[in-house]
């Protein structure tokens, strides 16, 4: 089947491309359309635009910027998707895969309707995790207004497995922005969601950690955020290092 993927994540806050550190501290990182075109030229496997503004709807400014970039790489969009009309707006901008955050927990029936429209292969569920003493891995709340107790992973594992989405974006929400700090696979709980769907790992990865993750059967991809907005071609150097380390086993050769 297909090679595993290196995915570039462009993080957007209030319409602005940023570098993010634990979702709490952010620094401007240039223009989104420029970053999209550069990553398209460098031929990454997929590009994810992740809006962390915690909006109740998708940001029309971000949608317009994606449309204007007009890239020929697969684009995943995440952030603020609430219903089918959002999906149709994003399709018209050139996105074909969609990251669903709280929607799959709040309204599984809406996810089913979206899946009937675009297919399960177009849907990815966001699973941002933190570890809590005595509870193991729990879902990190995506809303600053959400004061309810965080959901343990073992309580949502069935919901995740039953969803029509094809893949999961599993995020180490504490390590995000801190390269080398990823540690989710050291928790036994993680096995609750491995196997039901393909997993894309994100949050605090570096080359060494990514090499190890690529060997896991459940892994279909690894995602990098801030490094995409660092020095030019930094993400390509990371990719080249990983490919050499795994002897080109899991990744396609780039044709640049």
């Amino acid at each position: 089947m297909a090679f595993k993927r290196i995915i570039a994540v462009l993080i957007v806050l209030n319409g602005q491309l940023v570098k993010s550190y634990g979702y709490n501290f952010h620094r401007p990182a240039g223009a989104l359309p420029t970053a999209l075109r550069e990553l398209d030229t460098w031929a990454l496997d997929e590009i994810m635009v992740l809006d962390i503004s915690r909006r109740e709807s998708i940001d029309p400014l971000v949608v317009r910027q994606i449309r204007e970039a007009c890239v020929y790489s697969p684009i995943i969009y995440g952030g603020g998707i609430r219903d089918i009309s959002d999906i149709q707006t994003l399709l018209s901008a050139g996105c074909e895969r969609f990251l669903l955050e709280t929607l799959y927990l709040r309204s599984p029936e809406t996810v089913k309707r979206i899946s009937d429209l675009v297919g399960g292969q177009a849907l990815i569920l966001s699973v941002p995790l933190v570890s809590k003493v005595g509870q193991g891995l729990v879902l990190r709340s995506s809303s600053s207004n959400d004061s309810s107790s965080p959901l343990p992973l073992n309580e949502i594992a069935e919901t995740i497995a039953a969803s029509p989405a094809s893949e999961l974006l599993v995020i180490d929400a504490v390590a995000e922005g801190h390269g080398g700090a990823f540690c989710l696979t050291s928790f036994d709980d993680i096995e609750l969601i491995e196997g039901s769907k393909g997993i894309i790992w994100f949050g605090g990865l570096n080359g060494d950690i990514a090499e190890g993750l690529l060997t896991r059967r459940s892994t279909v991809g690894v995602a990098f955020g801030n490094v995409c907005s660092e020095k030019e071609l930094a993400i390509l150097r990371v990719r080249r290092g990983i490919a050499q380390a795994v002897q080109q086993r899991y990744l396609r050769r780039l044709c640049l």
């Binding site: 595993k4 399709l91 675009v118 196997g195 044709c255």
Partner: protein, 206 residues
């Protein structure tokens, strides 16, 4: 100028297809269910694909698309199907347990012995591309992007990767004026655009 019509079945990424055909210098028209087009107005029809087989066939049957496609095929005019669009060419679609267009015999079934969707990049077989006259200017291992769970039952060009657990997978099915791509050329970067250009120029002669 070549006139390309893209059928809007409701769930596909039409924008990317419009962009890529526009970049190849063709005229592009998005055919909506509500606005009827005549076959004589178009040189090539593209059936895009995302969504479920059942809803796509329902959309075709409940609109002028059905007669339109029948006329196009019977007059041997070029038709390109992409992903789900390619699967619709066949006689039966297991995903929704419904009939396809029936232009090519075969049943589109799910990938066996593999728990996930086939999402990502694989290399097309260059020698098979050459046999289909789609190889010009491509690298010797052209990688293209797939995102599907169901397989074309017959094919002319296969694709593979070094991680292969199920062997070569169907990538391109060809029968005279009908060409089906299981992968997404509009999302396969430079190699995808070259394959589309070869299809228009070398295979269809447009």
């Amino acid at each position: 100028m070549t006139r390309v019509g893209i059928l809007n079945l409701g769930g596909g990424n039409i924008a990317s297809l419009v962009n890529v055909f526009d970049s190849l210098g063709t005229g592009v028209i998005v055919c909506e269910k509500e606005n009827k087009f005549l076959p004589s107005e178009l040189d090539l029809i593209v059936i895009p694909g995302v969504g479920s087989a059942g809803s796509a066939m329902s959309c075709i049957h409940n609109s002028y698309f059905n007669d339109f496609l029948t006329h196009f095929n019977e007059s041997k005019k070029p038709v390109l199907g992409i992903c789900l669009g390619a699967q619709l060419f066949f006689s039966h679609l297991d995903e929704s347990d419904c009939l396809g267009l029936g232009w090519i015999e075969g049943s589109v079934s799910a990938i066996k012995n593999f728990p996930f969707y086939n999402t990502g990049w694989s290399y097309l077989d260059y020698s098979q591309l050459r046999a289909a006259n789609l190889h010009r200017s491509l690298s010797r291992s052209p990688a293209v992007y797939f995102n599907h769970k169901y397989l074309l039952p017959s094919f002319n060009v296969g694709a593979s990767s070094q991680t292969d657990q199920v062997g070569s997978i169907p990538a391109i099915a060809v029968r005279e004026n009908i060409v089906g791509f299981q992968f997404h050329p509009e999302k396969s970067q430079a190699q995808g655009r070259i394959i589309l250009r070869n299809l228009l120029r070398d295979y269809f002669g447009l």
